[in-house]
Symmetry: C2
Amino acid sequence: MNLAEQGLLLEQQLCFDVYAASRAINKAYRPLLEALGLTYPQYLVMLVLWQHEAQTVKQLGEQLQLDSGTLSPLLKRLESAGFLQRQRRASDEREVEIQLTEAGRALRQQASNVPASIFQALGLNASDYFELKRLLHQVMASVEANSPD
Amino acid sequence: MNLAEQGLLLEQQLCFDVYAASRAINKAYRPLLEALGLTYPQYLVMLVLWQHEAQTVKQLGEQLQLDSGTLSPLLKRLESAGFLQRQRRASDEREVEIQLTEAGRALRQQASNVPASIFQALGLNASDYFELKRLLHQVMASVEANSPD
DNA sequence: GGCAATTATATTGTGTGCAATTCAATTTGT
DNA sequence: ACAAATTGAATTGCACACAATATAATTGCC
């Protein structure tokens, strides 16, 4: 087997590991978030809103790297679940502002143990945790330099 | 802000980094694979088949950690694209055997430069590459120990 | 041999992701 | 001021993911 062919082996593919790890992590969140009535992407949106309540769709999209094609239906589901409200901003009617409801705010308390549970499930010590974070950031920076948004 | 609340900050979430990196990598593959007529999950299936031509759906699913709900329609699309054929195995009619077509086999040559292109786009030196791989494997092993298949 | 449990795949339903398009509101250039 | 360009969301269309269910074939057990 020559060098080019060796690159085509699944077990050599770092990218597959990232892809598989992402799905495995999602699976670990599922039972925890099900108790809150959230999916993992919905939980990420709530994280952003818990940090700063009023956000436009665009601002959410920038932080989560998701576009309106993903966020619009997701936000509608969160709205019909009663966790937030969407309304056109008066100062610029193109923008839709997302506001937490009381139920959405209250959910934060119920979610407060999720990060620790997940951290434990990851099985990493602090130094590996930060090393993994560093390497992922490096990969994202490189990849996005080649294929910009 | 107390400790529990600090866990709920997006920028502290390693899991978000894995999720975002996975999508960023997918985006990097897209233009390369578009030239071959493949999506990234389809490319992964082809990688497995290039290594070992005859596989059942179950065997593919084990290697890629994907179930029949994902693989069945994906394999049908690869079949109608002319890259493979699906047929019930005579010895056990519950199993569906996947066979590459000549076009599917030929695609391997066209894909041979993909791994090197992607490796370059990742911007990692060899030692970071293997370190990232090690950490991801560790995470997957831990996570799957808690939420088994 | 026959029937219950198991196995392999397919189907259904829900929820992302994302490219491409559409539409309305705003900003810009003159 | 006003037409053209830009912007922010929503919509459409397609392709995953995955839980839950259905179906058909096989295996085990008596």
